[in-house]
C-alpha cells in the first residue's frame, strides 16, 4: 500500500452515506439501491473518514480510542480496499 500516503484524507464517496443503524446494531454504508452492513472495525474506520482527518490522524485516533497500538497496517489495508470498492475517495 505504498501508494497511499499517510497524509491522504479519505472521505465517504460522493453519493454514498454511512450511518449507524440501531435495528442492525451496525454501521451501514448506503449507496444507490444497495447497502453494506459493516463489521465493527470497518465501521470504526469508516466513521472517521470525514475528508478532514489524514490516515495518520485516523490511526492515532483509533489507537487512542481502543487502547491499542500497531493499527496502521490494518487501517491502510482497509482504506485501500474501500477505495477499490469506491466506498471511499481521497481528498487531497
Amino acid at each position: 500500500m505504498s501508494e497511499l500516503p499517510d497524509t491522504s484524507r479519505p472521505a465517504i464517496a460522493h453519493g454514498l452515506r454511512l450511518q449507524w443503524e440501531p435495528a442492525q446494531e451496525a454501521h451501514v454504508l448506503l449507496y444507490p439501491e444497495g447497502m453494506v452492513k459493516l463489521n465493527g472495525s470497518a465501521g470504526a474506520i469508516m466513521s472517521r473518514c470525514d475528508g478532514a482527518r489524514t490516515i495518520a490522524d485516523i490511526v492515532a485516533d483509533l489507537e487512542r480510542s481502543y487502547g491499542l497500538t500497531g493499527l496502521a497496517a490494518d487501517v491502510r489495508a482497509f482504506v485501500a480496499l474501500a477505495l477499490q470498492k469506491r466506498w471511499l475517495e481521497l481528498r487531497e
Binding site: 452515506r17 443503524e21 435495528a23 442492525q24 447497502m35
Partner: protein
C-alpha cells in the same frame, strides 16, 4: 394507529423476524408510458384510490422505526404525485436513503431542484432502447429526447447517473448501441435487466422472450464493452431466469427483507405478490407496519420452510434459493407452493424449457415487430392475470 417518534428510529423489531430493510412505495399506478414489459398488475385499473400524503408519511415513520433504511419511490410514475417532494423530505429526515425510480417524464428543472433540496439521494432513470423509434414504440409514447434531456439534468444536479434498460427480444440486439448511449450520457451504472415475466410482461411473454443466441450475443457485446471502458462504468447484466437451471433467491425469501406498499395501501412481500391466490394482503389503512410485517398471516405465509413441497422440502439448496419465486411458481403451475419451474429439479421444468424452445423457433428480425400482438399497459387493456401455460398468440 400508533405513531413512531419523529426523531431517530426506535427499535420495535420482533426477535424472530429481521427488519424490512428495503421499503418500496409504489406511490401511484398512473404512468404516462405504456410499457409492454411493466411488472405492475395487469388489473391495476381496478385498484382503489391512492393513499393520501399523510398516510404515506405515517408508513415512512412506522417502517423506519422497524429498521427500514433503503427506500424506493416507484409506481407507475412517481413524479405524477404532486406531494413527491414532501414524501422525500420526510424520508430524508427519518434517515432513509431515498431512491427515485422514474421514467424521467415530468422531471423538470424545477422539480429536480426541489427534490435535491428535499434530500433525494439517487435517481434511477429507465430507458426503453437506444433509438428513438424503439424507445417510443416499446413505451407507446414519444419520450426519447425528453429522457436524454433528463439524463443531462440528473448529472447537472450531481447525482450518480444510473440507467436501467429492460431487455427483451425486441431490443436485446441493440445492446451495443444502448451501452454507447449510456456512455454518451455519462452513466456510471447501467443495469441491463432482462425482462422478468410478471404483470404485463407475462401477457407479452411470447413476444418478449429472447432466443439463447440473442442472449449470448448480448452478453459477449457487454463483456467487450466492459473491457473497453474499464472502471469508468459498472454494468450489471441480469440474465433472464428462464435460461437458468436454478431459480433466483427471490426477495431473499418472502417476508425476509423486502416490503412493498401498493398505491392503495396494500402491503406486499414482493411487488408482484398481489396476484397470489389465498394471500390475504393487509392494508396500511387498517394496520400499522409493525403488525403487518411481524404478525400478519400474509407476511408469515412463506417465511421459513414449512410451506415447501418436494423437491424443495428435502433439497440441500432450499436455504440458498428459498424455492425460487412464488409468483413464477403460481403463474406457470397454478400453485404458489410448487418449486419455481426455472429449477431443473422441478417436475414442471418443461414449462420453462418449452417456452425457451418456442423462442428459438420463432427467431425473426426486429424490423417486423409491427406484426406482433403486443399488449401495451393501459387502462383500456387492464385485465386480471390468468396463470397457466402461455402459448403463441399471433
Amino acid at each position: 394507529m400508533s405513531s413512531a417518534p419523529q426523531t431517530g428510529p426506535r427499535l420495535e423489531t420482533s426477535p424472530r423476524v429481521g427488519p424490512p430493510l428495503w421499503l418500496l412505495l409504489e406511490l401511484t399506478y398512473r404512468c404516462p408510458l405504456h410499457c409492454v414489459f411493466c411488472y405492475n398488475p395487469t388489473d391495476f385499473a381496478r385498484t382503489g384510490a391512492e393513499l393520501a400524503t399523510a398516510d404515506w408519511l405515517r408508513v415512512l415513520r412506522e417502517a423506519r422505526a422497524l429498521g427500514a433504511v433503503q427506500l424506493g419511490l416507484s409506481g407507475g410514475e412517481p413524479l405524477v404525485r404532486e406531494d413527491l417532494e414532501e414524501i422525500v423530505a420526510e424520508a430524508h429526515a427519518l434517515g432513509f436513503y431515498v431512491n427515485l425510480i422514474t421514467s424521467g417524464v415530468g422531471l423538470t428543472r424545477t422539480r429536480i431542484a426541489a427534490l435535491k433540496a428535499a434530500g433525494l439521494d439517487h435517481i434511477q432513470l429507465s430507458f426503453q432502447d437506444s433509438t428513438r423509434e424503439m424507445n417510443d414504440f416499446l413505451s407507446s409514447t414519444r419520450t426519447f429526447e425528453l429522457k436524454a434531456q433528463v439524463a443531462a439534468l440528473i448529472r447537472e444536479y450531481g447525482y450518480p447517473m444510473v440507467l436501467n434498460v429492460v431487455l427483451h427480444r425486441l431490443n436485446i440486439d441493440h445492446v451495443g448501441a444502448i451501452l454507447d448511449m449510456a456512455e454518451a450520457f455519462g452513466a456510471q451504472y447501467v443495469e441491463l435487466a432482462n425482462t422478468q415475466y410478471y404483470g404485463w410482461a407475462w401477457l407479452n411473454r411470447e413476444e418478449l422472450l429472447p432466443s439463447r443466441a440473442q442472449l449470448e450475443r448480448a452478453e459477449a457485446t457487454t463483456q467487450r464493452f466492459r473491457e473497453r471502458v474499464g472502471g469508468r462504468m459498472r454494468i450489471y447484466f441480469v440474465v433472464p431466469d428462464y435460461f437458468e437451471t436454478r431459480p433466483k433467491p427471490c426477495m431473499n425469501g418472502l417476508g425476509s427483507v423486502f416490503l412493498a406498499i401498493a398505491p392503495d395501501g396494500t402491503a406486499m412481500p414482493c411487488h408482484a405478490a398481489r396476484m397470489l391466490p389465498g394471500l390475504d394482503l393487509p392494508s396500511v389503512q387498517a394496520s400499522d407496519i409493525r403488525s403487518i410485517w411481524c404478525d400478519s398471516a400474509a407476511f408469515n405465509r412463506f417465511r421459513g420452510e414449512a410451506w415447501m413441497k418436494e423437491p424443495c422440502r428435502s433439497c440441500p439448496e432450499r436455504s440458498k434459493d428459498f424455492g425460487g419465486c412464488r409468483c413464477q411458481a403460481y403463474l406457470l403451475t397454478g400453485d404458489p407452493d410448487n418449486t419455481d419451474p426455472v429449477c431443473d429439479l422441478s417436475p414442471q421444468h418443461a414449462l420453462v424449457t418449452e417456452a425457451v424452445a418456442r423462442a428459438e423457433r420463432t427467431e425473426r428480425p426486429v424490423a417486423r415487430t409491427g406484426e406482433h400482438v403486443l399488449i401495451f399497459r393501459d387502462h383500456r387493456t387492464s385485465i386480471p392475470v390468468v396463470p397457466g401455460e402461455r402459448t403463441g398468440r399471433r
